[in-house]
């Protein structure tokens, strides 16, 4: 398995992203005004150091990616060969919809939908069963945490609140 002979685009992309983020930190640091206070060092030094460190790590990993791939990566090619992209999309949709809905539809409805979508993402083919479990679980969690443990969660249209 000499998969490391070629360049992994993913590895290179992550390296470049780290490099870009590091450079961004360094650039953005210049916008922090330098007030020293009691200390000899202002609020700029650590961001500079950290940004530089991140940039160097990105460069280091980029160099590795170009010269035979990242070092000591476990050989998971079997698992990574056929990603289930649909699962990723459905689960992402579930989490993002939940984010949009929770404010006005309330915790119980948003979480029920989240549950059903995640289960679907994992290939469950029993939507009715999932819906019932989801609704019961969401309701139990909602009342347990808001009534019993004092957490504030949005009740939504059915909450009467």
């Amino acid at each position: 398995m000499s998969t490391h002979a070629r360049i992994h685009p993913g590895e290179l992309l992550i390296s470049l992203a780290l490099l870009a983020l590091g450079s961004f930190v360094v650039l953005e640091t210049q916008g922090i005004s330098e007030t020293q206070g009691y200390s000899q060092v202002g609020p700029r030094l650590f961001p500079y150091l950290i940004g530089t460190g991140l940039t160097l790590c990105g460069a280091w990993l980029g160099w590795q990616a170009l010269t035979g791939g990242w070092r000591n990566v476990p050989l998971d090619d079997g698992t990574h060969a056929a990603p289930d992209r649909m699962a990723f999309v459905i689960i992402s949709a579930g989490v993002l919809l939940h984010m949009v809905l929770i404010g006005w539809a309330g915790f119980i409805l948003a979480s029920t939908l989240l549950f059903v979508l995640i289960a679907r993402g994992f290939g469950s083919t029993k939507p009715v069963r999932n819906l019932i479990i989801a609704a019961v679980l969401s309701a139990v969690v909602f009342f347990l945490f808001t009534q019993g443990l004092g957490l504030t969660l949005p009740a939504g249209p059915f909450g009467g609140a």
Partner: protein, 505 residues
């Protein structure tokens, strides 16, 4: 006040009806969640952090300690029956314990792991009780210079020394440090890296980051890459009890595992990974049945499990006495303290003795409860393993999103949660460790604060870090832990090529 008196008053706190109940609820919840496949101790404590929010600090932390311990116990059950280690420290248990289970000896494997964890946890808590006052005496001599040096040591060991690749470990650490920069600068009150978003002024919450990485990231990863495989759960056949022979083969590994685990937990060496592997190697060497190792030797479960638990208690030593988290889980526990405006460290032993000693006392009690809870009820926990994967992860995400949203009822935290989840997914896919992110984001701001204080004292003289004896020693150790493994690797490579066969990188 001497240690025993302090401990006794701690027991008085821990044995109050409310705290006893909270401890009991904590270990039960911790076990139940920790048993779930794919949920390690770090995620368990992060998910259950919101559940503790409404209690007084002492009660909440006692519950929290119980959750931590319970998660450790529960994780072992999963490792043995399912061979899916929740974290790197249980890899050995997963390997050897699962082989035992395959040979129909799941019962004794679970028993030796539970009793070993109890023995190790109790001895380690005893050690914690009597060593931490000494550590506090040392810690009281620490100034900003020394604190900074110790944090540098923690950064280096957590990222560069452990794990498969120093480059990826450091990248992860710097990512965490960058996340830690976001928010108001503690010294001047200036906003940094908030990009004009008011929600970012307080910085990123540890719960959001931990839950994002461990729950959302892991869910995305498992669904995308691992959902085609099916787990086989080993059946619990026969008796749960250990035979006389099992006892004879277990008790020494328990003690040796404890002896290895506790000191490794105390030093910033990335938690339980090293001591569990060392314990496994030791037991293999000392065993009268070395041929059984790899096929289900009871010593290979007893030793590493004891080491794992002893190390978990050991981790609390730098956390309580110095405020220094050395693992992902410890970083989240530190966040739990900070939730109440408490900063663990030597001063906390003075200002909040009833909290610290109540916590330590509750660990003795928690261990007993766990043993009572785990052995007879193991059948019940095993049932949790049979939850179908779609329902399991769907349920985990309900709690994950609730934890993030419950912080301040803002959709922004859910957006962050998803973003960090995608980051966790990518990191998992490309084998970048996530623990350094958490340690970096927690320790980054603290280390900056100490660094600036140190320079304020020395009036800008950087040599203060090498002229102060303690700080110089710690930094020298840091240099050693970086250099020695490299030199060792070089020597081995040279020796290998001298013999004639090139070692394959």
């Amino acid at each position: 006040m001497d240690t025993l008196n302090a401990l006794m008053s701690g027991f008085a706190v821990a044995l109050s009806l409310q705290n006893l109940l909270l401890g009991f609820v904590g270990v039960t919840l911790g076990t139940a969640v920790g048993v779930l496949p794919g949920v390690g101790p770090a995620l368990t404590v992060a998910l259950l952090l919101p559940a503790t929010a409404s209690f007084d600090p002492t009660g909440a932390l006692i519950m929290f300690a119980g959750i931590y311990y319970g998660a450790m116990f529960g994780g072992s059950t999963t490792s043995i029956l399912l061979n899916t280690p929740g974290e790197s420290a249980t890899i050995v248990t997963a390997m050897e314990g699962n082989m035992m289970a395959k040979r129909g000896r799941a019962g004794p494997a679970l028993a030796t792991s539970a009793i070993g964890s109890f023995v190790a946890g109790t001895i380690a808590t005893l050690l914690l009780t009597f060593v931490s006052p000494m550590a506090v005496d040392v810690a009281l001599k620490f100034g900003p210079t020394e604190y900074f040096a110790v944090m540098v040591l923690a950064f280096v060991t957590v990222s560069a020394v452990l794990g498969a690749s120093p480059a990826r470990g450091l990248a992860s650490l710097f990512l965490g440090l960058t996340i830690g920069l976001i928010g108001l600068d503690s010294q001047t009150g200036q906003a940094r890296f908030t990009l004009g978003i008011p929600e970012l002024l307080d910085g990123l919450d540890v719960v959001v980051v931990a839950v994002g990485l461990f729950a959302v990231g892991e869910t995305l990863y498992v669904a995308t890459y691992l959902n085609r495989t099916t787990d086989t759960i080993e059946q619990m056949k026969g008796s749960i009890w250990m035979s006389k022979e099992d006892w004879k083969r277990s008790w020494k590994p328990w003690l040796r595992g404890t002896a290895l685990g506790f000191p490794f937990g105390c030093i910033p060496a990335g938690g339980a990974e090293i001591p569990t592997f060392l314990s496994y190697a030791t037991e293999k060497k000392l065993s009268k049945h070395p041929e059984e190792f790899g096929k289900g030797a009871i010593e290979g479960v007893a030793g590493p499990e004891a080491a794992n638990n002893a190390s978990a208690s050991g981790t609390l030593m730098p956390l309580l006495t110095l405020g220094l988290p050395t693992t992902a889980t410890a970083a989240i526990i530190l966040a739990a303290f900070q939730q109440y405006g408490l900063q663990p460290g030597p001063l906390l032993f003075d200002t909040q003795p009833e909290l610290i000693w109540g916590l330590i006392a509750s660990m003795y009690i928690g261990n007993v409860i766990l043993l009572a809870l785990n052995l007879p009820l193991v059948g019940l926990w095993v049932k949790l393993l049979t939850i179908p994967r779609p329902l399991l992860y769907a349920g985990i995400l309900i709690f994950a999103t609730m934890g993030a949203y419950g912080l301040r009822n803002s959709w922004f935290d859910l957006a962050l949660l998803y973003g960090i989840g995608v980051m966790g997914f990518v990191m998992r896919r490309y084998d970048i460790p996530v623990a350094p992110v958490l340690v970096g984001m927690i320790l980054g701001p603290l280390s900056e604060q100490q660094f600036r204080r140190a320079l304020a004292i020395s009036q800008g003289d950087l040599t203060i870090f090498v002229t102060q004896p303690i700080s110089a020693t710690v930094l020298a150790i840091t240099a050693l832990v970086v250099i020695v493994p490299q030199v060792w690797r070089l020597i081995r490579r040279m020796r290998a090529s001298a013999i004639g066969h090139e070692s394959p990188v």
